[in-house]
Amino acid sequence: MSKPIIATTSLAGCFGCHMSVLDIDDRILELFELVEFNKSPINDIKKFTKKCDIGLIEGGCCNSENVHVLKDFREHCKILVSVGECAIMGGLPAMRNGIPIRECLEEAYLNGLTVVGNEERIIPNDPELPMLLDRVFPCHEVVKIDYFLPGCPPRADLIWDALVALISGDEMKLPYEVVKFD
């Protein structure tokens, strides 16, 4: 059997979840033995070159670009996993969800204490820019997500165990320490 293929991406996240993937330490070598990576910041492949088995998603969707990438992942991956609080619930970026988007933009580009320059008082509107969504969406509100790995970030062992379980088809061990959050 050929090696399972993995893709990963960071949407509206902080890359902390990806750092947690790297945090599996020397098991990363084992991982590269077990799987092949396709589109991912880990190997810097920008576009899908083939169908993948597993897609790991960090971060929720805060703009149209995130939505496109996520949909692209759904099309190319058999299994999608929401990794971390941001992907599952929106996380820190979703703190803006209670504030109208216009107010957010005005605070960021016009009225905020740290705004300098911008004499023309422009809210960035270049057609090249992705469009912000009115609120940050968790991934499962945009596409079907098969599994959820909680944590901010999920700890390296959890990610490792989950990957091994997905690859081997064995049931995943979820000891109490992994799912309690207080």
Binding site: V67, I101, R102, N125, M131, L133, D134, K144
Partner: protein, 600 residues
């Protein structure tokens, strides 16, 4: 402002536990609760401002912004909508030139939504400056707005006839109707004040409790806890002071029978509280009345005064040495959850109406942490009859588990909405006959309000009682032409979402998620997965602290169970999953804010 606030605080004995009363007065005087008032109260009571503010912000009828010289609260309950609220609302908006939640630029009038105000048998209804306006029509609204423009006093704005019975008495003068359609042993007029007190003072308190226990009567507030047992627990609980609370919060949409008792049989109710006080060993009683019934205040105060003059209340009642008991009225300020007994106590202590963790139950640690009995209005009235005629007599009505009678509040699509006192054990079919609703015209009946069950004609042979269909007494009859999902279920879900106190994450979050799913299904984006999710997620709500959260999924769960076709016919059969996400809708506001045209 400072002087006014000081005076109000003094009026309530500089007691910070009377914060609700203080705020109610300030709200009434100013049309809102100004920031300075909050600062002043905090200073006087040596509380932090946020502690005062959290009480202010919790209640629907407190506002931190002006609500207009005339604050109009239009009911948006299910039955109000059935009876033509939409046109009434549109006319208010058009005539006043404002939307709901706004105040006219000249500050003369504000327009607000409010949940069921206990007038389901005479909707659409509104509260304007504490006066009730029922059976509104677009024409009537135009008249009201004209009167507002002329600056008429609300008392002069009522041109309809006063309502029946006490509603037309000098101290009420309201257009509200009682609509008492059927009288039974509890509502029977065969009672004169003081009768039952005469009887109990010759008995030992334990004997009174014994008689109540013998009747097997269970609380009428919904939970159905045996009344005698509750009293006994409280009597046996250690505590230097004990309290009797009457729960007249009546917030479950669709019930209004307590309003009718407060209007027509307050003496009976107060006598019930005196009996409870004697049995338990309490010296103070508090009637917690929902703010919506503020128009009954003077009437109730007068009857309390008469009772004091006759020594039915006060010191050494009717010559019984050491038997002291008095009653005061505590108004709420608009919060359904305050009907929950521990939230009610919190509210009466001047705080947010947030249910307490139980145990300890109020009978051990209630008001001011002292043993407290909380009983429904109807429970306390029924007790009087039990005392007068005996527990055995009471048991002769109803069924084994459900003794006695029940006051039903019946509204919706029927000829004779109103209050009916029936013996337990009637079937829904019997009730439909009684209220003039043809079976072929009825699609469903909502039993027990939003937290209860929506039943289909297949189940109309079920009987009302603790054995089968338990109910606090609200029955809403839903005709064939009504849209159950969008007209009823959605409204009930909104109700729970608005009324959650926010303490438990389950109750704060899951009902909103469920409503969003329902909306998705109504928008033709649902799949079988969504229906399965609704059933599964509904179970999580059982982990909530109080009954509100525990039942908040019922509108969906019960309609899903009894009317599955309504859901199934709306889902997409060819898809196993649809997130419902719509990119164009999701960037609408942001496109406007940046002046961009979507580029995909």
């Amino acid at each position: 402002m400072k002087a006014e606030v000081k005076k109000t605080i003094e009026k309530y004995g500089n007691d910070k536990f009377r914060l609700m009363d203080i705020l109610i007065d300030i709200q009434k005087e100013n049309g809102y609760i100004p920031g300075e008032a909050i600062t002043q109260i905090a200073e006087d009571f040596e509380m932090s401002e946020v502690d005062v503010e959290q009480t202010v912000s919790f209640y629907h009828f407190f506002s931190q912004k002006p609500t207009g010289k005339y604050a109009i609260f239009l009911n948006n309950s299910v039955v109000a909508n059935m009876m033509g609220r939409a046109e009434v609302a549109a006319t208010f908006m058009k005539e006043l030139g404002i939307k709901f939640g706004e105040v006219t630029p000249d500050g003369s009038a504000g327009l607000f939504n409010t949940s069921c105000i206990g007038m389901n048998d005479q909707e659409p209804a509104a509260i304007i400056n504490n006066r009730i306006f029922t059976r509104l029509t677009p024409f009537r609204v135009k008249e009201i707005v004209r009167d507002i423009r002329e600056g008429k006093d609300v008392d002069e704005m009522n041109v309809q006839d006063w309502g029946d019975g006490e509603n037309s008495s000098d101290l009420i003068r309201s257009v509200v109707s009682n609509n008492i359609r059927k009288i039974g042993p509890v509502l029977d007029r065969d009672f004169t004040a003081g009768q039952a007190i005469e009887k109990i003072i010759k008995l030992k308190p334990e004997e009174v409790i014994e008689e109540v226990k013998k009747s097997n009567m269970r609380g009428r507030g919904g939970a159905g806890f045996p009344t005698g047992l509750k009293w006994e627990f409280c009597r046996n609980a250690p505590g230097e002071k004990k309290y009797i609370f009457c729960n007249a919060d009546e917030g479950e949409p669709g019930t209004f029978k307590d309003r009718v008792i407060l209007t027509e049989r307050p003496r009976l109710l107060f006598e019930g509280m005196v009996i409870a006080g004697y049995a338990v060993g309490a010296s103070e009683g508090i009637v917690y009345v929902r703010y919506e019934y503020k128009y009954l205040e003077q009437h109730l105060e007068k009857i309390l005064q008469q009772a004091r003059e006759a020594n039915y209340l006060g010191k050494n009642i009717l010559g019984k040495k050491g038997f002291n008991f008095d009653i005061r009225i505590q108004f709420g300020a608009g919060a359904y959850v305050c009907g929950e007994e521990s939230a009610l106590i919190e509210s009466a202590e001047g705080k947010r109406g947030e249910p307490r963790d139980r145990p300890p139950f109020p009978v051990e640690k209630g008001y001011h942490d002292m043993p407290t009995v909380v009983n429904n209005v109807e429970t306390l009235c029924s007790v009087v009859k039990v005392i007068l005629k005996g527990g055995e007599w009471y048991k002769s009505f109803g069924t084994n588990e459900s003794t006695g009678t029940k006051l039903l509040s019946i509204s919706g699509d029927c000829k004779f909405p109103g209050v009916y006192e029936v013996v337990w054990g009637f079937s829904v079919n019997d009730i439909l006959d009684m209220v003039g609703a043809g079976k072929e015209d009825v699609q469903a009946v909502q039993v027990g309000g939003p937290s209860g069950a929506l039943i289909s004609p297949d189940e109309f042979n079920r009987t009302l009682g603790y054995e089968d269909l338990a109910t606090g007494g609200s029955l809403i009859i839903i005709g064939k032409n009504r849209d159950i999902l969008s007209g009823i279920v959605l409204n009930f879900m909104d109700f729970f979402i608005d009324e959650s106190c926010g303490s438990c994450s389950t109750c704060r979050i899951v009902p909103t998620l469920m409503r969003n799913k329902l909306n998705k299904i109504l928008n033709a984006r649902g799949t079988q997965q969504d229906i399965d999710d609704l059933t599964e997620w509904g179970k999580i709500l059982k982990a909530s602290r109080c009954g509100l959260g525990q039942t908040a999924g019922n509108p969906i769960l019960s309609s899903l169970k009894n009317f599955p076709a309504l859901y199934e016919e709306k889902i997409q059969k060819n898809k196993s999953f649809d997130s419902g996400f719509d990119l164009n809708a999701a960037i609408k506001e942001s496109a406007k804010a940046t002046g961009r045209i979507p580029n995909f």
